[in-house]
């Protein structure tokens, strides 16, 4: 377990959120969902996962799979801050010069599997986790899924298989930000009680505040790995966390801000002023 330096985590998370906002222009990005999992990804890469730019090719590294791939600005923001990629590359977002677009691509160092279509990477993660177990590697496989993604039947199919095969080096993290694309999850396909659903499927269930590093650290330190059951952490988060004029708004899922708005949003993130937004940001895709 890496040591916990909360002020360092907080500094990094501010930088990651800035990256997310700066990628939300000139074509846009899934800003709200990215902001909700930024703290989770910062915590996991800085304080939990045994992987860094130097070990990204090591067989025994831990593996993180971003199954809700549309929040990839958060992942790439973390990669830029931790040295997996040159931060200047983020300016290539949506340019065909690079492979940085709305979903993860394995050509980016640190991306273990591409995603985009929801409900895929839990089964991919099960395969990786069983592979690691067969090779007697200490690798842990973390699969980040969205709460809206739990609508997909393939998630629950894979949950059955993971429990049946006792995949106990596998950790699912649910980014429980309460929203799916256009509305609150409970308004469309009610998911609660999520914890009971996973328990009924034979999983060990943990709940945490997905923006509280102490709570995350306590939760991830208390996971029971290797005890015959897969683990799930339901991380309570807020869509758009950290930027009040984006937070908790159904119409701030996909955002394509003007450059002026991005500057104002970065100021808002840093507590300096409130952004005035006029861009039409609800784009259903």
């Amino acid at each position: 377990m890496k040591t916990l330096d909360i002020s360092s985590l907080q500094r990094t998370s501010i930088h990651v959120r800035e990256h997310i906002l700066r990628m939300s222009t000139n074509g846009g990005a899934f800003t709200g969902a990215s902001l909700s999992c930024a703290d989770l990804l910062v915590y996991l890469y800085k304080s939990f996962l045994r992987v860094d730019p130097a070990s990204v090719g090591n067989d025994a590294r831990d593996l993180l799979l971003l199954s809700k791939g549309h929040d990839v600005p958060a992942l790439y923001g973390v990669f830029a801050e931790l040295g997996f990629i040159d931060p200047d590359r983020l300016a290539n977002h949506l340019s065909t010069r690079d492979s940085i677009y709305w979903h993860p691509n394995r050509e980016i160092p640190g991306v273990e599997f591409h995603s985009g279509s929801l409900g895929h990477l839990l089964s991919v993660g099960i395969g990786m986790a069983i592979d690691a177990r067969m090779r007697k590697l200490a690798s842990r496989v973390v699969v980040v899924v969205g709460d809206g993604e739990l609508n997909e039947g393939s998630i629950w199919e894979a949950c059955l298989t993971a429990a049946a095969h006792k995949v106990d080096n596998l950790i699912v993290v649910v980014d429980r930000n309460g929203f799916q694309a256009n509305m609150r999850t409970e308004e469309l396909i009610p998911l609660e009680p999520i914890a009971d659903k996973f328990r009924a499927f034979g999983w060990l269930v943990h709940e945490a505040d997905g923006h509280d590093y102490d709570d995350l650290h306590q939760t991830f330190s208390s996971l029971l790995l290797g005890c015959g059951k897969p683990n799930v952490v339901i991380a309570m988060t807020q869509r758009g966390k950290g930027v009040p004029s984006i937070a908790e708004r159904a119409d701030r899922w996909f955002c394509d801000f003007s450059l002026r708005e991005v500057v104002e949003l970065v100021d808002e993130l840093n507590g300096r002023s409130t952004a005035e937004l006029s861009s039409d940001t609800l784009v259903v895709r």
Binding site: L122, V124, G127
Partner: protein, 315 residues
């Protein structure tokens, strides 16, 4: 232990990297689970999960052979095959059981008769359709070693003809009529229908129709040279397949014709399925659908007689 089980066992002994998965389809694998130990995983009736798992293992260095009923493998798990195997070009072989007419009495839900069309439509993924257990095992031996992703139509029936060529992707084999020039009819076929085609030959030859039979073996990559050659050389080219007319061998021949300038090419007679076939015992299905050797010979003879060029009538 059957020869396929022996093949899987041998490859697992030779390489630590081979994993065998099944979505509770064990009919032709009954003896291997205890022998393969943790290298054999039954994921349950969960085709999507199986393909996702296979892809995860493959990008970590494994070669994974997966098994499920062809209809569920190619259609329930289609997007997983496309996204998780096709995009990363993952080393996953997908063996579909009871493809085409071999689903006999199951009914339309179980009829994989568009599988060739949809699998060959995915970049990186090959399609292999053997006609007997020997060809299947020889091809799987090659493909497991090769490590490229393939969809394979399983067949467990014994050989009905000696194979003339070693298995190689994209190389068809001539099963009959290699020694004749400019045949009246060339039958291009694959898989189960290639077996039926062998029984058609004597019926056509008894009518003085000179026949060549080509087993295409892989539909992707396709032996384009062979198709071009038959279109140039034969009077009539018959495409014979237990697959829908759309997207299978007939479509492939059409694509080859469009890609190439072939003056005065053979007339092409497609024999394929136009919709779901009548379920039942296989022999009865063949008769009902007009796909038994006698009916097929008659259909081909009629087509030939109305499409023959006047200069090449044989006595």
């Amino acid at each position: 232990m059957n020869s396929y089980e022996q093949l899987l066992l041998r490859h697992c002994q030779e390489s630590d990297e081979l994993i065998v998965l099944t979505a509770e389809n064990r009919g032709h694998l009954r003896n291997v689970p205890p022998l393969l130990g943790n290298r054999f995983i039954d994921v349950g009736i969960a085709e999507q999960t199986m393909i996702g798992m296979a892809a995860g293992m493959a990008v970590r260095g494994r070669t994974v052979v997966t098994h499920a009923l062809a209809a569920f493998l190619t259609m329930r798990a289609f997007e997983f095959i496309r996204d998780d195997v096709g995009i990363p070009n993952a080393s996953v072989l997908m063996v579909g059981m009871v493809p085409g007419l071999l689903s006999d009495g199951n009914g339309p839900t179980h009829q994989a008769i568009e599988d060739v069309a949809i699998m060959r439509g995915i970049p990186n993924i090959g399609v292999f359709c053997p006609m007997d257990i020997d060809e299947f095992v020889e091809g799987m031996d090659y493909l497991i070693t090769d490590g490229k992703p393939y969809y394979v139509r399983y067949i467990g029936l014994p050989p009905v003809a000696a194979h003339t060529e070693p298995f190689l992707p994209g190389v068809a084999e001539v099963l009959h009529g290699n020694d004749i020039s400019s045949p009246d009819v060339t039958i291009l076929s694959y898989g189960f229908m290639c077996r039926i085609a062998l029984s058609i030959i004597p019926l056509l030859e008894s009518k003085n129709i000179r026949v060549r039979l080509v087993n295409m073996r892989t539909l992707k990559p396709i032996d384009e040279w062979r198709i071009r050659h038959e279109l140039e050389d034969a009077q009539v080219v018959v495409t014979l397949e237990d697959h829908l007319l759309t997207g299978g061998l007939y479509s492939i021949v059409g694509e080859v014709l469009l890609r190439n300038h072939i003056p005065e090419h053979a007339s092409v007679f497609p024999i394929a399925l136009s919709s779901w076939f009548k379920p039942g015992r296989l022999q009865e299905v063949l008769a009902y659908e007009g796909l038994d050797p006698v009916a097929l010979a008659s259909r081909i003879e009629t087509f030939f007689s109305t499409h023959i060029k006047e200069s090449v009538v044989h006595e």
